[in-house]
Amino acid sequence: AGFCNEKIPPSFLRNIVSTVNLACKLDLKNIALHARNAEYNPKRFAAVIMRIREPRTTALIFSSGKMVCTGAKSEEQSRLAARKYARVVQKLGFPAKFLDFKIQNMVGSCDVRFPIRLEGLVLTHQHYEPELFPGLVYRMVKPRIVLLIFVSGKVVLTGKWCLSLPAAHCYLIF
């Protein structure tokens, strides 16, 4: 199935999940009761859910001092958001630090602008089950990412990768 080779468009990061260690035990009740944007429902989940508006993100803060930050649209923003949360925790009176900031997962989407014939894509690492899911699931091994390829030409990538990779992979596939 030959298609026109237009230039591959850049991917747009939709979501980044990162973790950081604040390196001190936290009193979740204290945090929940003194922060404006925190919810804490110990029966349901053992962490405080805090949100900030500036890079629009959500963080899960655990009593061990570890924190998960989700929702940022770029690595820099994720780092900034995580630092903001750490600052809030600091201001609430805990000696929070900022150790081991690590990005765990990035979700991006891009559009190749031409329809893709999924049945024709016979590669080794993919699964295409139209009965279950309309997209083809391609699990690339080298950078460990998973691509969801749809017939309309849209591609969703998820995993740990950096921005330069997707273009290379699009060429690889097509």
Binding site: H34, P42, A86, F98, E119, P134, S152
Partner: protein
Amino acid sequence: MPGGRVCGACGCAEIEVDAARGDAVCTGCGSVLEDNIIVSEVQFVENSGGGSSAVGQFVSLDGAGKTPTLGGGFHANLGKESRAKTLQNGKRQIHHLGNQLQLNQHCLDTAFNFFKMAVSKHLTRGRKRSHIIAACLYLVCRTEGTPHMLLDLSDLLQVNVYVLGKTFLVLARELCINAPAIDPCLYIPRFAHMLEFGDKNHEVSMTALRLLQRMKRDWMHTGRRPSGLCGAALLVAARMHDFRRTVKEVIRVVKVCESTLRKRLTEFQDTPTSQLTIDEFMKIDLEEECDPPSFTAGQKKLKIQQLEKALSKKLEDFEGEISSYQDEIESELENSRPKAKGVFANFTKDDSIDDNASSILGEEEADEELEAAANHLNKDFYDELNEKDRVKRNEDGECRNGNETLVRPPALESLLGPLPTAASLGITESIKECISTKDQEPGENTGDGELDLSGIDDSEIDRYILNEAEAQIKAELWMKENADYLKEQKEKEARIAKEKELGIYKEHKPKKSAKKREPIQASTAGEAIEKMLEQKKISSKINYNVLRDLNSKGSNTPKKEDDSTDDSTNTKKLSRRKSIASRNIANPVNSVGKRLRPLISTQFAKKAATEEVTFPNAQAEASDVEKPAAVLVESGPVAYNPDEEVEEEEVEEDEDHCMSALQLLGGNDYGCDMDEDDGY
């Protein structure tokens, strides 16, 4: 000792080995060197019919890998059989399911092979066997190309199809089998048969196939459920051949939703092929191909978005023009109207302020933040308009109709002034912070050294923290919401504290029992047993009164322990619990060489309290009554509800019968897997 080489007695090297009898004899001196050596011969046994059969077992290839232990290691033996059993069960289930699907023997055998592979790769662990079997069967269906859908399997098993799909995907991935994609054409004969076209079955099928191929070329089938496409094709084909098949009938056969079917039909309608007549369709094949519907939908959306953007831009331009026209009209009107005179001027001014106030309250829903921002930028402009507006309000306000922008300014004005509502309060705060000079940079890093504060506006962070009053309110609300949970937590903590003091506390990890225990250090056997009972679980079937009296020395200790626990505990609950436990501790089992493994049930330990006072009495009673009995163990279980009667019950039942402790406890306990450090 070299059995077959050299005789030990005479040194002769001629050894005769008789395989049948299993001995090795020296031909020189006649001494028997080996007896009962392992023979390998076939033995025959007569069975009931009179025939004879060979003695032996078939050993599977899989099991041969494990070292044969000759019946010594019980576990190894069980393991081998277990694997064979698993495979047998699997085979049975595969055949059962496969027959319902009418698969032939070859498919079933292949499925069984898949199953064996799955078992050897440990894929069956943690998954329901029925799911694995269904996945194996479906894999076979896919590789063979039979018209079976995953939906059929899920119907048979009454399992969610996506769950089955997940298992199937895992299986396919692990076995590295790339099942070829489903071709909807495979399903046509099956569905056509179900729709009962009679004689014309073949023709309808061919038409439907042709339709499907057309759909494929029009990119309608990528990413869609094949059954939906089949349904649409069959429906159209049936109509083409003058068969009345309603949508409902087709749906029942094809198992998709009505809306899906309609959607497919609509999509097909959009293709140019739908414009052909029946005859034309059968003969002609249009060259052009369409894009997949999702692609075209995406393009449409993009176009609409772009259009909207362009429109909004144009709107803004127009609005600008309109407002400029409005201003001109305003100024004209002003000049032409007579001004209010003297006293009335003051009145009108007051009125206008009231009007403004009422208009604010009416317009609270309006975007206050937007207004604040707009105000910030256009303050002067609006002030001007304000003057004009106030005067204008004296009249009927004919110009109000199109002047939405002018209606806003008065509200804005008063926003900055007195603040009527809490909502505007919050906003003013943020506005002030935006406008006012920034706070000094914090500088101090509170000793962490690793949190880089650059780029973080401290004032913004402060906004995320509640002040005292707000924190209190939130605390109240939160406490109310989570009252139950807090209560539970307190009880749990109190219980743990009590248990910790008496050293009974175990870390209750979910699904993991604390296996590592310190070795028990005790001076006498009795003490050792006490400590052991302390550590291990106590069964509810033991009468502890009796146990206590087996060793008369032990009866003194419970009282002491009671006192100590009484002092330390506050609640009766806990003390009762502890005294039960201490009673148990104090009852060493008479060593008749039997191994006692009392199991402490946690429920037993958690009984609610009764009066402590009765305790010493009950104990004294019990000990008096039971001293004469040798090994009396209670026959029935200890009651779980901890009333005072419990103790009396225990006392009464003691005298009933005499059963061995082992019998009561041990029927199921003895010989099971247990820790080695338990031997007494």
